[in-house]
């Protein structure tokens, strides 16, 4: 098992800090993805900063999506960071940190589409990535496990479904859809925004139930909100200022 | 009836038949004998073109069957063949085995095929086995069904390739009996066999083959009692 890609993030070694095993699914750009064999992304820089703030050394490992939950539930990993949406069902099994990211969902449609709002999604089939805020948002609109919702393993496939005419729209994080439209102008897609239709969704760090780390990390998250480190990372990845007020208000 | 001219047959580099000439007259019973591997089966199989021949001509009732324009399936309906291992269709009953070709090839009606099939089964003494499956028959019974199946196409000639050599000794007699009856009725027959008794009793002519040639041919009494060729003598001394 020497081929496993392990990326240690602690450049500045903290000799006293315990090394935490942090798991992710490096399959969700720009939050976490592989650049060659390195796991990079907003989440990675963020967890790096938070762990350092809390006094731990972080060892990030990409284990795949489903495995994250087994690793955390069995306490073999300490923290999961993978653009994980916090919801009540998941809280039954896991602990989550305070929200660290406000996810705004937007609608990706073909240029010619006449869908202009969330409500107009009804009656169309909509592609989403399984387990994302996009799925949450659409299910709140249409109903849980509605037959018009197609859940894919990743947004890449969901967008492909849209391109080939199998779905009228994709609902996903604004960063994901905007990035895609910017990079693929030839596909003739546009982004529709509807802040009324979609509730606010938040990402959190995920811990095993009853983890003692939660308190440390909650404190550390707030600390980097205050010292400007969070805003720095956010701007680096998304090019805009974060909406810290909404995030803090959610606590 | 059958005229074979300069017949040659090779499998790859192996020339199995080397210039064979023969004539079979109507109602004649020709017995072919010879050592294993001498080309007897190949000779027989060339007659109805189960093997594509390499060179030469085969005329059946004056028609050159090696001519590409001749419909070989048509020719084969005139030439019945009985194999060493019966080759009955195991998924069909005895009656179905017999009726299949008449129904599909001759397109006779089902009643007619059934009636004729029943007559043939009576002839080979197996009327009561009409609805049995081949697997439930003894070797001798199987071979008699195979003969009936070939006769159902009303062929003008019958070819037999060692019809008794896969049988238990007690069953050899019943099959030879059916063949003798056919001969008495005037069927033209070419029979490859090791049953020298049959050759003597029924054969009009015996052909001895070795290494792809017809080495000697004559009436049975002559060939068995006064073989001319050394090879014939050597062979007969072993098998008689």
């Amino acid at each position: 098992g020497k081929d496993k890609e392990v990326v240690t993030t602690g450049k500045e070694e903290d000799a006293n800090g315990k090394t935490l095993r942090i798991v992710t699914d490096a399959n969700y750009a720009p939050f976490e993805f592989l650049e060659g064999n390195k796991v990079v992304g907003f989440d990675i820089d963020f967890i790096k900063a938070v762990a350092k703030e809390a006094g731990y050394e972080a060892k990030v490992e990409s284990v795949g999506w489903d495995p994250i939950f087994v690793e955390i539930e069995s306490k073999r990993a300490d923290v999961a960071v993978s653009a994980i949406t916090v919801n009540d069902e998941r809280k039954q099994t896991y602990d989550f940190s305070v929200p660290y990211f406000l996810s705004t969902n937007k609608i990706l449609v073909p240029e010619k589409s006449d869908i202009k709002s969330g409500d107009e999604l009804k009656g169309n089939s909509i592609a989403v990535q399984t387990g994302t805020t996009g799925q949450e948002a659409v299910e709140k609109l249409l109903g849980k496990n509605h037959k018009d919702i197609k859940k894919f393993e990743n947004n890449n496939l969901a967008i492909q479904e849209l391109l080939q005419g199998g779905a009228a729209a994709v609902v996903a994080d604004n960063t994901v859809v905007e990035e895609y439209v910017k990079n693929n102008p030839d596909q003739k897609l546009k982004v529709v925004e509807d802040s009324q239709a979609f509730n606010e969704e938040f990402y959190g760090l995920m811990f095993p139930k009853g983890s003692e780390l939660k308190a440390d990390f909650d404190k550390a998250v707030n600390a980097i909100y205050e010292n400007g480190k969070y805003a720095e990372i956010y701007k680096e990845w998304f090019g805009v200022e974060p909406d810290l007020e909404t995030l803090k208000a959610q606590q | 009836m059958i005229k074979i001219e300069n017949l040659k047959k090779s499998f790859g580099d192996n020339e199995v038949l080397k210039n064979v000439n023969a004539i079979v007259s109507p109602q004649e019973v020709v017995v072919v004998i010879g050592p294993s591997g001498s080309g007897k089966s190949t000779f027989l199989r060339c007659i109805n073109q189960l093997e594509t021949i390499t060179a030469g001509h085969i005329f059946i009732e004056g028609l050159d069957t090696t001519d590409k324009k001749v419909n070989i399936n048509k020719v084969r309906t005139e030439v019945g063949m009985v194999f060493q291992h019966f080759n009955l269709f195991p998924h069909k009953t005895v009656m179905e085995n017999i009726m299949l070709a008449p129904l599909k090839v001759r397109k006779v009606s089902k009643e007619q095929a059934t009636q004729r099939g029943m007559n043939l089964l009576k002839k080979v003494g197996l009327a009561e086995k009409a609805n049995a499956y081949p697997d439930s028959l003894s070797g001798g019974q199987k071979q008699r069904v195979a003969i009936a199946r070939a006769l159902a196409m009303e062929p003008k000639i019958m070819l037999f390739d060692e019809p008794t050599s896969a049988l238990d000794p007690e069953m050899v007699g019943e099959v030879l009996e059916v063949m003798k009856q056919l001969a008495r009725e005037g069927m033209t027959m070419v029979v490859v066999t090791h049953e020298m008794g049959f050759a003597k009793e029924v054969g009009d002519r015996v052909i001895f083959m070795d290494e792809g040639y017809i080495v000697e041919e004559n009436i049975p009494s002559e060939i068995f009692n006064h073989p001319q060729q050394e090879r014939t003598k050597a062979f007969l001394s072993k098998v008689l």
Binding site: W65, D66, P67, I68, F69, V70, E73, S74, I84, E89, R90, Q92, T93, Y94, A127, T130, G131, Q135, N145, K147, K150, K151, F152, E153, L157, Q160, E161, L163, Q164, G165, G166, A167, M206 | N48, L50, N73, K74, V75, R76, T77, V79, G80, M81, F83, H85, N87, L88, F89, P90, H91, L100, A101, K104, V105, A146, R149, A150, M153
Partner: protein
């Protein structure tokens, strides 16, 4: 670690619905695949090597690449090309059928070639054509021998249909994954799916064994 029976019960109707689609997908694919497999198998045993070549190519490509890739290509490429839109169920049936056909073609070929040549010769010597012999003599016997390997292929197909969850065909595994991602649970959905798959394959084996036994006594 606690096993959450409650979420299995919550998702039971969806799993059931998914299982029905799994069955539907598998049954239609085995039927279409068997039909195509017969044609391809017959194509492969043609004497004319040039005519047989495309069939060899087909079998090589479909057996040489993962089904997952075939599913993607058919779902995002072939189906939209003809109908202008994707359709996971249609693509699923097509992908599974085409994939199975490559394996079934080999089963047919082996089945046909396992029939003693004497059967062919027996029929041809009666004046039957090659086609008549195939239809009335060789294939009926070959079919019987093909039931065990076809049964295996059917079971493989049933389980492979689980890969269709990647194109969001709402079969059993799709609902298992949906359940897992809602609760972030792994054991419950996968074990539940495993038991349903095991149940389906056992029923299938049982039925196939029965069929085999019945055919043997005929």
């Amino acid at each position: 670690m606690s096993f959450r029976w409650d979420i299995i019960f919550e998702y039971a109707p969806f799993l059931l619905k998914g299982a029905l689609l799994t069955i539907g997908l598998s049954v239609s694919s085995i039927l279409i695949g068997t039909f195509l497999g017969l044609l391809i198998g017959l194509g492969k045993i043609m004497r004319n090597k040039v005519l047989a070549a495309p069939f060899y190519f087909y079998v090589t490509v479909f057996r040489g690449t993962p089904l997952l890739v075939q599913i993607f290509l058919i779902h995002f490429g072939i189906v939209p090309f003809f109908t202008g839109e994707t359709n996971a169920v249609a693509a699923g049936v097509i992908a599974l059928s085409l994939n199975a056909a490559a394996y079934i073609a080999e089963i047919f070929r082996a089945g046909i070639q396992s029939i003693d040549n004497g059967q062919m010769e027996g029929a041809r010597s009666l004046g039957m054509t090659h086609a008549q012999t195939m239809i009335h003599v060789v294939l009926p016997q070959a079919f019987k021998r093909m039931i065990p390997p076809l049964g295996n292929e059917f079971i493989v197909l049933l389980k492979d249909s689980s890969l269709l969850c990647v194109i969001a065909a709402p079969e059993l595994m799709y609902w298992g994954k949906a359940m897992g991602s809602q609760y972030f649970k792994v054991w419950e959905p996968y074990l539940a799916c495993a038991f349903i798959y095991l149940f389906l394959t056992l029923v299938l084996s049982f039925a196939l064994n029965g069929l085999e036994r019945r055919l043997k006594t005929v």
